[in-house]
């Protein structure tokens, strides 16, 4: 097969470019510790809210500077909605859903996971800067999807008091939006059993 010279040049350069991309990505994983989520544990959406760990969502300090944030993503709010940690903390997020597929993206971080009923999504980030980091749901989860958000509040070392390492849950299970407005989530939509009636 005759492949003209110019095309050969282009093909060679393209292959080098694609290979270079692969190498840079390998570096991002090895050197920077940026990884993709993988299988950890499974949960039963029907019972997860009454079994550990999701029966007690919130943030706990597991060792010095290391935190574990246990979060529930459901229609249409996160529990807890606000997570407060001191600057420099490494937070491991474990998130699960008792209803439909949700997404979790934490702005200004690389945390970006799908929350799929039956699976626990685990990811990690070290918060090196003080500030507020919005958490958004980025997968369509029903007509309230555009109201589903939370935040990680990272406070300076000098602000650390008994408010640090806590998850604030600003609503009852029948949910408050971040602005404080109550929303009514119909019972049927929070059911995880049965097919269509």
């Amino acid at each position: 097969m005759k492949v003209e010279f110019y095309e050969k040049v282009f093909i060679a350069l393209s292959l080098v470019m694609l290979a270079a991309f692969a190498v840079f990505l390998f570096i991002s994983v090895q050197q920077h510790g940026i990884t993709l989520v993988g299988p950890t544990q499974r949960v039963d959406p029907a019972t997860m809210l009454s079994e550990p760990p999701f029966d007690d969502p919130g943030v706990v300090e597991t060792s010095d500077g290391q935190y574990l944030a246990t979060m529930i993503a459901r229609m249409w709010f996160f529990t807890p909605e606000v997570i407060t940690v001191p600057v420099g903390s490494t937070v491991t997020f474990q998130v699960a859903s008792p209803d439909v597929i949700h997404g979790v993206k934490i702005l200004d971080t690389d945390v970006n996971v799908m929350v799929i009923p039956g699976q626990v999504s685990t990811s990690k980030h070290t918060f090196d800067e003080v500030g507020e980091y919005l958490i958004v749901c980025h997968e369509y989860c029903g007509t309230g999807h555009q109201g589903m958000s939370g935040k990680v509040v990272v406070i300076g070392a000098d602000e650390v008091d008994d408010g640090a390492g806590e998850g604030a849950d600003e609503g009852s299970p029948d949910a408050l939006l971040p602005g404080g407005e109550e929303i009514a989530v119909p019972e049927a939509w929070r059911s995880t059993e049965g097919g269509r009636s």
């Binding site: 110019y6 282009f10 350069l13 393209s14 470019m17 940026i34 200004d108 690389d110």
Partner: protein
């Protein structure tokens, strides 16, 4: 083509080797190189964002 010296509109050299040129896509190679550069630039930009947020 025997009338190269009469063509004042088209490039004389072009007439002489038009068959060659058709098979040597020089403009294409230039644009494809620019395309590869654009890919590298955009990819690199997004890669830098990812590293910066990590």
């Amino acid at each position: 083509m025997a009338d190269n010296d009469e063509s004042d509109v088209t490039d004389v050299a072009h007439d002489a080797d038009s068959h060659e040129t058709e098979e040597n896509p020089r403009g294409t190679l230039l644009l494809m190189l620019l395309f590869l550069i654009l890919i590298v630039a955009m990819w690199g930009y997004m890669y830098a964002i990812m590293i910066g947020r990590g």
